[in-house]
């Protein structure tokens, strides 16, 4: 699991890579903190390289989305595919998160 965060003209891009499993989920939540701090901005999470996400990882995404909605920012997921998309559909997260 890896998350790379880039800032461009006041908006944020997070590139998620690999497996977010239960063992790594707490690290993932930690890594999301810089984005949480900027939840009032526009945030894009690129999931092209994301292969796997467990429920704890989904919780992290939900928390960020709630924070963003509360602070009037925006958060979108891009390039969601395969297994990750399937899990988002199974959990009804496709309705909660903005998937492009």
């Amino acid at each position: 699991m890896n998350i790379e965060i880039k800032e461009q003209n006041g908006s944020y891009l997070g590139i998620l890579t690999g497996w977010i499993d239960t063992a790594e989920a707490s690290q993932f939540l930690e890594d999301l903190k810089p984005l949480m701090a900027n939840a009032n901005k526009s945030i894009e999470l690129d999931c092209n390289q994301l292969e796997y996400i467990c429920s704890l990882g989904l919780r992290g995404l939900l928390q960020l989305k709630k924070e963003s909605a509360a602070k009037g920012g925006s958060m979108i997921l891009t390039h969601v595919k395969g297994e990750v998309l399937k899990i988002l559909l199974l959990t009804g997260f496709d309705r909660l998160l903005d998937i492009r």
């Binding site: 499993d21 239960t22 063992a23 292969e51 796997y52 467990c54 429920s55 704890l56 989904l58 919780r59 939900l62 928390q63 989305k65 709630k66 909605a69 395969g82 297994e83 399937k86 899990i87 199974l90 959990t91 009804g92 309705r95 909660l96």
Partner: protein, 535 residues
């Protein structure tokens, strides 16, 4: 739960006063009767000879004196009885307070040396002995709890010593299990694979509980240390015996069987120190007990010469090592009749499971012992180690595979590796593997996080089996009961504001798998069985 009796203590003033008044009236009644008798006697003896006015006066003043006297008597009696019964009221109040748990309640002061003082002394004695008993009870409970928690830790340490990662080799199928009868047991098993040599041991320390478990730990550590360095089974046994017998004041002994299987030359050398003869399944399918020389158990006589034996162990030969917890498993019927599991049942079971894998054989035997005992509490630890040597070991793709994990989150990645190899073996594609792995991971993570109390070592066991296009996953743990089928599902239709964080894991397990069945076994295991069509 027993309900506290519901009654009130009636020691109030009105009750006591009426008691005093009743007594006063009784005394006055007696006094009035005495007066009447006196008047009658007076008239009887004085007769008509007395002058009328004098008689009148006597009657008049006598009546006044009588009424005044009676009233004074009433007041005096009431006051006296009130005074006498006051300490009783205070005793009653003290008793209620003591019963409420306040053992230091002050008792009324008694200055007279009568029955009240006796009562007070008895009360005082009751207070001190109650205090003493409660203190003793608290101390006993605390030390019991401490011992119990130390036993649980000892159990964790002991189970942690047993190797639960089994070799992954095409020419070897090995599995073992140990079930202690108490928190800690005196059985042991271990194995070490060095290059192409498999060293293995099963042992049983005489006795049970903590003393036996200490020797179990020593024996297992000695074996681990000696196995690689001393090569032959007899040498390992001799050195273990030397180490234990040379400092064995409590004369605890260990029966053991040590084997060295050379997987290249298909040759088994073994040494038996008064242990049960293992059962052998020969390459041509005969089930019999292995022929063993009986040497002395470990720990009895230093420098004892242990004899070793050897046999050819061609491919498809299998060996079951066990402790007497198997053959001496007991069934006690309602009329007190006793029956032992015995070697015949064991050989019969092996006959039925000749082709089965190590996991299947061990599960079958443990299950059979449970059914056989039918609720009779087992007094002895049960340890089983099954190994089969041969190229055909991993050919049977319907054989279940198992991984035993500790309750540590890092085990999740080891499990992923295990499950990936199961999926590869059955041509399950990578996407399906990921989805299924998520379902397993969510449940296993739940067990790791919540099943065992903080800081307590526990295990979670995953068994995977594919048969006729259906993947069956069984996840077993010894933690607190948790039934996912009784768990309210998350509302996947909820909006962002309503959506709760949490409960997703269980939802995913249910959404991904085709069927889920939960069982809490009589021996305290959570067993979750899930299936998925993978064709």
């Amino acid at each position: 739960m027993v309900e506290a009796p519901n009654f009130e203590y009636k020691y109030d003033l009105a009750y006591r006063k009426s008691f005093a008044a009743r007594l006063s009236f009784r005394i006055m009644g007696i006094a009035a009767a005495v007066f009447l008798v006196a008047v009658v006697l007076f008239f009887h003896f004085t007769g008509d000879s007395m002058t009328l006015p004098l008689t009148h006066q006597i009657v008049k003043y006598g009546t006044i004196v009588f009424i005044v006297g009676l009233t004074s008597l009433f007041v005096f009696c009431t006051w006296a009885i009130y005074q006498m019964s006051r300490p009783l009221q205070q005793f009653a109040e003290s008793a209620v307070s003591i019963a409420g748990g306040n053992l230091d309640t002050p008792l009324p002061k008694i200055h007279s040396e009568d029955e009240l003082l006796q009562l007070r002394n008895s009360f005082e004695y009751m207070q001190t002995s109650l205090k003493q008993h409660i203190n003793d009870l608290q101390a006993t409970t605390a030390s019991k709890e401490r011992l119990q928690s130390e036993l649980i830790i000892a159990h964790d340490i002991q189970m942690g010593m047993l190797t639960t990662v089994f070799p992954e080799r095409d020419d070897l199928d090995l599995f073992a299990s140990m079930t202690p009868a108490k928190e800690v047991g005196g059985d042991l098993y271990d194995f070490i694979l060095e290059d192409d040599e498999l060293f293995f041991i099963i042992g049983d320390v005489a006795g049970k509980g903590v003393p036996a478990s200490l020797y179990m730990a020593v024996t297992r550590t000695l074996f681990r240390h000696l196995a690689g360095n001393y090569q032959s089974a007899a040498n390992i046994m001799r050195e273990m015996n030397h180490a234990i017998a040379s400092a064995n004041e409590s004369l605890v002994f260990v029966t053991a069987f040590v084997g060295v299987l050379d997987l290249r030359t298909h040759h088994l050398t073994y040494c038996n120190a008064a242990h049960n003869a293992p059962a052998l399944i020969t390459a041509d399918g005969q089930c019999q007990l292995l022929e063993v020389e009986t040497n002395l158990p470990i720990g009895i006589q230093d420098h004892y010469r242990y004899e070793e034996q050897q046999i050819a162990f061609p491919e498809n030969t299998a060996l079951l090592l066990y402790t007497d917890g198997l053959t001496e498993a007991m069934y006690i019927s309602a009329d007190g009749g006793r029956k032992l599991f015995g070697e015949d049942r064991l050989l019969h079971d092996l006959e039925k499971n000749k082709q089965a894998s190590a996991i299947e054989v061990i599960d079958y035997l443990k299950q059979h012992v449970n059914v056989f005992a039918d609720g009779t509490v087992q007094g002895d630890d049960l340890t089983l180690l099954f190994l089969r040597h041969g190229a055909s070991c991993k050919n049977d793709s319907t054989a279940p595979r198992r991984i035993i994990m500790k309750n540590e989150m890092t085990e999740v990645s080891r499990m992923r590796g295990f499950f990936l190899s199961v999926c590869r073996e059955h041509d399950i594609d990578d996407d399906t593997f990921k989805t299924l792995n998520l379902a397993i991971e969510e449940w296993v993570a739940n067990v790791i996080n919540y099943a065992y109390p903080k800081g307590i070592r526990g295990h979670v066991e995953l068994t995977a089996k594919v048969s006729e296009g259906v993947l069956t996953l069984v996840i077993k743990d010894h933690g607190a009961p948790f039934d996912p089928t009784q768990h309210t599902d998350v509302d996947v239709e909820a909006t962002l504001d309503e959506r709760q964080i949490g409960g997703l894991g269980i939802h995913l397990v249910k959404a991904i798998m085709d069927t889920i069945h939960y069982e809490r076994t009589a021996d305290g295991y959570n067993v979750l069985t899930m299936t998925k069509n993978v064709e």
